[in-house]
């Protein structure tokens, strides 16, 4: 028998500043809290404030800088501020997408951390009425030789697969990279893309007073309590004790929840809906209340926590409100639709209970065992949360790389093999073969064809979405402003390279401790660089997530702002992939200008010479769009057989990847005079294109007319890759062995 009076006494006990500090609320925030409340909070209230004001929920360090992002254009239906971004893809349909991190939990418990990251991002998308159609993930791990890395990779990949495969949403693209800077903090960023009808989009906003609050999905347990707070603090050794704060996912329940929610959404029962993610019942109810009202003026909520389906006995109001148990949703229903809603959830054997009502009080009132355990105004929790202008210092500019210190390699063939098999470039087949890429039957192109972006057909049409995720932390570390621009430009390029029109991005900004001015400087400048690119390319940010405090014992991760880009393909008969290249094709490099030297911050420099120096390659945003339009035009008019953007490892690696994907060798001739190292320069705004000889003249004439550089690189033929005769001459089979071999060998080695 639960001693309810002891629980109530603990819940109602007045809290002091010491207790607030233990909840991650500092002295300044404590004063703010007591002022807003006009009294000291009790335990439940303090718990609610602590999660709502955590970095994770309030974006208190980044909010003022995030506002620099362009968030609107003619395609955008919903920008940042809802569960996910929404864009118009024509024919009355919308693409709904977002990327989110689950970094801290994945380091502590890789399988469940990554799995629930996937679950959470799926909920963000189907909460809005979209059927999820694709998953993407961007993973960053520590040095392969670090003792923890291998088990983290195995756990994270199994977790992503275990969740995504079971819910039946294809995982179509992603990136997996390694660097010692992530030894103490791995990054697990997951993106979900969904498809909805524009007249059936659901929002967290718009709930009006007097309507039932409806809880659906899994029961509430004690897992994940304070997850949002954990994600808002640095790690130190011994944090494995945080394991109980990592939630456990149940993809089977998620699958039922998707089907049940979409079934209910086909009716007119739901007024507002919010998934229970970070800070669970607290943040979902606060967000719906804060954005409620016909004009968004805010409403109140009153909930009876005894009605919340519970997995364990004797749970306190504090635990119920802060639990991050997975696979739960909160809705505000129209009063006459309760029975209808219950019936839908009954079909799927899911819990569904009315747990309270919306009110016009503007307050959050919570009852447990008949007693009031929380009565606070809603507004200070959300819009009035702290909003810091953290001090920051301008990151130091790196001096140009002194090319006289870069020796000519003795064997270019060895260089190529080493680059193609280095951890960042090596095939990630070991990873993506563990992901179901084909369920739902609309995957036109996925990781398996090494393309620039995945292509997922819009079900029942001949249209498709192109999806990519991008970040080059090397460049951001070298120059956050230029690096920030490059990330957005690369996403734009990857989408254009398959023939898609780039539409919008979601971002996932991963950095260290924002309270350190050096780190904050990287955050500010990276955001500004990204914002400039978004503006110039008309490629707005529609949703996103910020993950700070990725630090262990004072050492921050490399700055890693990841972008997930979505593009629209109007006609699936007009796309280009890598695998389309044919023997006999001519390889042409298309670029925003003559290739220029510069190996600063390049993969070559890091992998071959072990140096991480120099500024990143130049980005010419003004020309980026023109080249992309040109390439897209070539694809539309059927002039090309394959397109690949030039990135890590420069032209040489771009050509090699194209050969690996198509299975045809190439004889390459570096056209410029001077050092062959130029072939490893990571020219931005460049594409490697395979064109059949009979279309070559047409292509060159169009390039000439458009003022775009187009230089012949060689021919696709044979079964080897050669450069300038015999400077490189390696069989494709040998390159493939090196490229495909690294990851399985690494994962299977025992040390």
């Amino acid at each position: 028998m639960t001693d309810t009076s002891a629980i109530i006494a603990a819940m109602q006990a007045e809290q002091d500043e010491t207790s607030a500090n233990e909840h991650g609320i500092n002295a300044e925030e404590w004063d703010r809290l007591v002022t807003r409340l006009n009294r000291k909070p009790n335990l439940v209230e303090l718990g609610i404030y602590s999660v709502m004001w955590s970095e994770h929920c309030s974006y208190k360090s980044s909010r003022r800088h995030l506002s620099k992002f362009p968030t609107k254009n003619k395609h955008v239906i919903q920008g940042p501020g809802e569960n996910a971004g929404v864009i118009d893809i024509g024919d009355g349909q919308a693409a709904i997408f977002k990327m989110e991190s689950h970094n801290h939990p994945s380091y502590i418990e890789p399988y469940q951390g990554a799995a629930t990251g996937v679950g959470g991002i799926l909920r963000d998308v189907f909460t809005m009425g979209a059927r999820p159609i694709a998953l993407v993930n961007a993973l960053r791990f520590g040095d392969p030789s670090h003792p923890k890395t291998r088990s983290l990779v195995a756990g994270v990949v199994a977790g992503i697969g275990g969740y995504g495969n079971c819910v039946g949403v294809p995982t179509v693209a992603g990136e997996t990279e390694f660097h010692s800077g992530y030894n103490g903090n791995i990054l697990v960023n997951a993106m979900a893309v969904g498809l909805a009808d524009q007249d059936k989009i659901f929002y967290a906003r718009g709930a009006t007073p007097g309507n039932p609050i409806f809880y659906v999905g899994s029961k509430t347990g004690r897992d994940g309590i304070h997850g949002a707070t954990m994600a808002s603090a640095e790690f130190s050794e011994g944090d494995k004790d945080n394991r109980p704060t990592v939630q456990v996912g149940d993809p089977f329940t998620e699958k039922l929840l998707i089907e049940a929610c979409l079934e209910l959404m086909a009716t007119d029962a739901i007024q507002a809906i919010q998934d229970m993610g970070a800070a669970g019942l607290t943040s979902s109810s606060v967000e719906m209340a804060d954005s409620g009202g016909e004009n968004g003026e805010g409403i109140g909520v009153e909930m009876d926590l005894d009605k919340v389906p519970q997995r364990e006995t004797g749970m306190s109001a504090y635990e119920i409100m802060l639990s991050e148990s997975q696979e739960r949703m909160l809705m505000v229903l129209y009063p006459d639709k309760i029975e209808l809603a219950k019936k839908v959830f009954e079909k799927y054997d899911l819990d569904a209970e009315v747990i309270g009502m919306t009110t016009d009080s503007g307050r959050m009132v919570l009852k447990q065992f008949g007693e009031t355990v929380c009565d606070i105004p809603v507004a200070p929790l959300a819009e009035d949360a702290p909003n810091y202008d953290r001090p920051w210092v301008e990151p130091k500019k790196r001096p140009p790389l002194d090319m006289s210190t870069i020796p000519e390699p003795e064997d270019y063939g060895e260089v190529l093999l080493k680059l193609m098999s280095c951890p960042d470039m090596a095939s990630k087949r070991w990873v993506w073969e563990q992901y179901d890429r084909h369920v739902m039957g609309d995957t036109v192109d996925s990781s398996q064809s090494m393309g620039n972006a995945a292509i997922v057909r819009i079900h029942g049409t001949n249209k498709a979405l192109a999806i990519t995720s991008d970040c080059t932390p090397r460049y951001v570390a070298a120059d956050p402003y230029e690096g920030g621009k490059q990330i957005v430009a690369e996403a734009y390029r990857n989408l254009s390279a398959v023939g898609a029109k780039p539409m919008a991005i979601t971002d996932n900004l991963n950095f260290g401790n924002p309270e350190k001015p050096e780190t904050m400087g990287y955050i500010v400048k990276a955001i500004e660089g990204m914002a400039e690119a978004c503006g110039t390319l008309d490629f707005p940010v529609v949703s996103g997530n910020v993950s700070l405090y990725n630090e262990t014992d004072g050492i921050a991760i490399p700055p890693t702002p990841v972008v997930g880009g979505v593009g629209l393909i109007e006609d699936l008969d007009k796309v280009a992939t890598l695998k389309g290249a044919q023997a006999g094709d001519v390889l042409i490099a298309v670029a925003d200008g003559e290739p220029t030297p510069g190996l600063g911050a390049s993969l070559y420099l890091r992998e071959i010479l072990g140096r991480e120096e120099g500024p990143p390659p130049r980005i010419n945003l003004g020309k980026e769009k023109g080249v992309a339009d040109f390439v897209r035009g070539l694809i539309e008019d059927g002039l090309v057989n394959a397109v690949h953007d030039v990135s890590d490892g420069g032209y040489m690696c771009a050509a090699t990847e194209l050969c690996l994907a198509s299975g045809v060798g190439a004889n390459l001739t570096f056209p410029a005079s001077g050092s062959l190292l130029g072939y490893f320069v990571e020219h931005q705004g460049s594409y490697m294109i395979a064109v059949s000889p009979d279309k070559l003249d047409d292509l060159l004439a169009r390039a000439d007319a458009a003022g775009i550089y187009a230089g012949k690189q060689g021919n696709l033929e044979g079964d080897a890759i050669t450069l300038n005769g015999d400077v490189i001459n390696i069989s494709l089979a040998k390159i493939r062995e090196a490229h495909e071999g690294w990851m399985p060998a690494y994962m299977e080695s025992l040390d």
């Binding site: 199994a158 089977f252 699958k255 073969e433 992901y435 369920v439 039957g441 036109v444 057909r457």
Partner: protein
Amino acid sequence: MKTAVIVFPGSNCDRDAQVALRQATGQDPAMVWHKDGTIPEGTDLVMVPGGFSYGDYLRCGAMAANSPVISQLQDHAARGGYVLGVCNGFQILCETGLLPGALIRNAGLEFVCRPERLKIETGNSAFTSAYASQSEITIPIAHHDGNFVADDETLNALESEGRVAFRYVDNPNGSARDIAGVISENGRVLGMMPHPERAIGGHEGGTDGLGMFASLMAAA
């Protein structure tokens, strides 16, 4: 041909099956919810789709095999109706006893999704008549528990009775004798781990699954 697709909680290839059957037959299959659904009278083919019925909890397919709809499926099979179980559907058919053997965790222990080459072991069945015996096709696989096991006596019988429909060319999961799909004694029930409904054209899975639906159209 009149078709139906059974939908269990956690099925996730039910829509793919629906699309493939619609494309093959020109009409929509009946989607039968496991709890209270009915397999319509006159149904020629019932497809048991892939996915994770009941989250694969307990054992893949074990709980679905005890679902209310299964008695109807057994009646349908007893009447000589065609049944096609793919992936989780194959696991369920083994659990119900409609097919022999069992599917256990892949020998490599990991989930595997990739295009897989299959050898047509018999072109002399209602499911494979459109293929030439001993020819090779490529069909995507995506499973964690596709390692087919049975005792030697059963395996010998399957082989001698021509009831091995497909074998893997590069066994991805450790299946006994490389078996990728088996047929029931009466030749009307087929279970297979690869996904023919993901190989019907227009996407990454290719087109080699079309032959199976064409075969069934000719048979029913």
